[in-house]
Point group: C2
Chain length 193, copies 2
């Protein structure tokens, strides 16, 4: 996307009374997924939420009985994914990632622990996947965990080519409410197609 030089990328809020939809303009994949999840929850369709960021706390001050202030902490390598929840009684689990590349998705975007996590979820009968947005192409895909695992376990490459994604993932269309209707694809995954 092109922005006039000197203009800061901002998150536009789309108002209900406004018919103009600024598709993806300045809105991160994370924000769009959060909005979609809020919508699903309002509609009582699914209950999917973002997990807290994993950190390691090393110093805490207690200035008073109930007021703890963390004075030093570090971001730790996530052992699970960003999102999980429940839909139609099923356990749903996924990670969402953006890439600026126009040709491939680098695997070091996802930590080995997270791949193991998706594998665990899949093996126990959950619905696991990765949502990948190619920001420069303005294309967002849902790649089922089993396809990702197949790639990681069988193909000795450090990134997943877009061609593999086009063949094995589902293109997610942009919408208004929800912004990204990924549950449509989850329905297909549940159906086993």
């Amino acid at each position: 996307m092109n922005y006039p030089s000197g203009t800061k990328k901002t998150n536009l809020v789309v108002k209900d009374h406004n018919n103009i939809i600024y598709k993806n303009r300045g809105m991160t994949l994370e924000s769009e997924i959060n909005l979609s999840n809020e919508y699903y929850q309002e509609m009582d369709k699914a209950y999917i939420y973002k997990k807290p960021t994993p950190i390691k706390i090393t110093k805490v001050d207690y200035p008073s009985r109930d007021k703890a202030v963390i004075k030093e902490a570090f971001f730790t390598i996530p052992s699970t994914t960003d999102y999980n929840g429940i839909y139609k009684g099923k356990y749903i689990d996924f990670e969402a990632k953006e890439t600026k590349s126009t040709t491939s998705f680098t695997l070091n975007n996802i930590h080995p622990h997270q791949i193991k996590h998706l594998s665990n979820v899949f093996n126990h009968g959950g619905i696991a996947f990765v949502i990948i947005r190619f920001t420069s192409l303005n294309e967002t895909y849902l790649l089922p965990a089993e396809k990702l695992l197949h790639f990681v376990n069988n193909i000795n490459r450090k990134s997943i080519p877009l061609s593999f994604i086009k063949e094995n993932a589902y293109l997610l269309s942009d919408g208004y409410r929800p912004r990204i209707d990924y549950l449509k694809i989850v329905d297909i995954l549940i159906g086993g197609i």
Copy 2:
């Protein structure tokens, strides 16, 4: 439990080659649940894990490109529970709490957001519950979310009497591996008994 004065409560590690089991001695409910979850995972029986502690980060230093240090953060009121995961394809979600009381469990131990969370999980077909340990009695109960919700929505009291828990919850027995075999009770909940 009584400890000789001046002796610090320590978490004894039970070694495999050691036949002595120090039941609960100095081990928190959280540690025992974590060990049980590890055991379930090793046995490939279930995949249940602890969520990161929710915090609000207010100051971060970046001394170098990849090394962020959180300099100020605060513990936030949890909007979800401590544990969730997957068992027999089902979404499992629970909170674990200890109380020193011998007569009741104070409801302000569980935040309203967490009760709402358990309600959401239950309404979407998940298995939701609270594990409550009465440390002074050395009794641990699994209270299904629907029973907790029934109490919260219908009984105008700030704590759940032990008698209600005895009547509506399942007593969890101590074990070695797993320390707390709560999935035995989950099997009953899944069975709908």
